[in-house]
Amino acid sequence: MSSHDASRSAAVTLADVTVAFRLADGGVFTAVENADLSVAPGEFVAIVGPTGCGKSTLLNVAAGLMTAAAGSVTIFGEPLGGINRRAGYLFQGDALFPWKTALENVAIGLEVEGVDPRDAQARAQEWLTSVGLGAFANRYPHMLSGGQRKRVGLAQVLIRDPRILLMDEPFGPLDAQTRQIMGNLLLDLWTAERKAVLFVTHDLEEAIALADRVVIMSAGPQSRIIGNWTVPLPRPRDIFEIRLEKTFHDLHREIWGVLKSEVMKGYQQSAGSMQGAAS
């Protein structure tokens, strides 16, 4: 591969990655095909695509939770085998341990590394404070709001100081205001400690507002990466303000021109597959 030199410096490199699922009826479903993607250290990349196109699948491959049928995954120049130890993963669904308090949930990542539990809890308390939940340390997840749970999740991942941050529609289920507040919180934390970020979202505005680069995936199956835009907006950014800028609007219009047809295709395909044998 000619990308060998690039992959040496990149935090994450997916080269020609194809992911397939074996179906119950014996068939094979190719979710993602020939995907090329690379994230530099400290770079914030957003992936946008219609629902069901394989965004979570791609993240799972980068996390090492799923293996690619073809292609290679390289992490800081080394081929990935097994779980990606350099990455932290904020999942799409609820992933906090319901039987642990917020504090215990955050501390666990250090405790399993063998950090003394008292030190781990002290640092977990600091992290809870920095995501604005210092007073909620002893609450169980079900006693927290959706946004608060995501904050705990963020602290749980960041306390291990991963070099790579994988985020799967992390603010998806939250209301509009909370999403923006969370976006700003994320940018603050990221500015303080620059990690390579791979941020999946279905919200193009969110992608542009947060990322250095926006990557668009086509509708599945055999989804591909069909576009790649650099976001020329200056940092530090404020999510509330940035949406008012002309550059933001121009870029949004340009990307949406490509994304729109894929979103429509995505809907038609899922509608078509529901009609089953009709096609």
């Binding site: 932290g88 993963y89 999942f91 669904g93 992933a95 169980y140």
Partner: protein, 262 residues
């Protein structure tokens, strides 16, 4: 409904039923006593009998024995059910091999085992404990098995990404998940432990609440039978209250168990 009102209604229902019982057994209606006291006794006599048992202190020995048997059956049955359920859920091969046998054993009515246990273990407490275990074990086993198998895959993925080894995964994810399922079946399994003990005593023993009821039946002492059943019912309610208390403490992290809304 507030707690006080609820309690008032509950008491009212109880008093009405007992009142009706007293009425129908003592006052003839159109010259016929609907519930002849010989077959149905009367509340008066039953209460008298219960008081006598407690005053003379004979009842304590029987209560203690039934309680001991139930506790032993519960502890051993739960422990066995949890461990084996956990093991089967993590080793699908083992589960597949044993599946038909587990189903067969569970389908077996436990009463038929009582004489065998009496033969093997004698008429002391252990044959009753064994009967209780066969009941408790399967409740806990199925719950834990299901609980571990249905542990959220996102939770497991998250644990892996947080750097947990297989052993840490067992300890921090699968085991708590299994325990929470075991606790959610606490009422059922405790109830079964008591049933096992009492049925075992009923079918052959020298002490316990089941024995008490069986003795009374043997001599057509209907008041004794009802008195025994009443004490048994109260016994079960007290245990159930304790279980609810324990459950509240163990499952504080559960959405409903700790929901002390104001």
């Amino acid at each position: 409904m507030t707690r006080v009102r609820l309690l008032m209604w509950q008491v009212l229902v109880g008093v009405t039923l007992i009142g009706l019982w007293q009425l129908l057994t003592t006052v003839p209606i159109f010259g016929v006593t609907l519930l002849p006291p010989f077959f149905f006794s009367t509340p008066e006599k039953v209460i008298e009998r219960i008081i006598k048992w407690f005053v003379e202190g004979t009842i304590w020995k029987h209560l203690a024995i039934t309680l001991t048997e139930a506790i032993l059956a519960f502890v051993i049955g739960s422990l066995g059910g949890a461990l084996i359920g956990f093991w089967f859920a993590r080793q699908q091969m083992v589960a597949a091999v044993f599946d038909p046998y587990v189903k067969m054993m569970n389908a077996l009515p436990r009463v038929v085992l009582a004489p065998i246990f009496a033969l093997w273990l004698g008429l002391g407490i252990w044959s009753k404990v064994a009967l209780g275990i066969t009941l408790v074990f399967f409740v806990v086993f199925f719950n834990v098995y299901q609980g571990v198998k249905e542990t959220s895959s996102t939770l497991v993925d998250n644990a892996r990404m947080l750097g947990m080894s297989e052993r840490q995964l067992l300890r921090h994810v699968y085991w708590p998940s299994a325990l929470s399922w075991m606790f959610s079946s606490l009422h059922t399994s405790v109830g079964f432990a008591v049933v096992g003990a009492v049925v075992g005593e009923y079918l052959g023993s020298a002490a316990g609440l089941g024995y008490l009821i069986q003795q009374a039946e043997g001599t057509f002492d209907v008041a004794g039978v009802f008195a025994g059943m009443t004490v048994l019912a109260l016994f079960v309610i007290v245990i159930d209250l304790l279980v609810t208390k324990v459950e509240r403490r163990l499952l504080v992290w559960r959405p409903n168990a700790s929901a002390e809304r104001i």
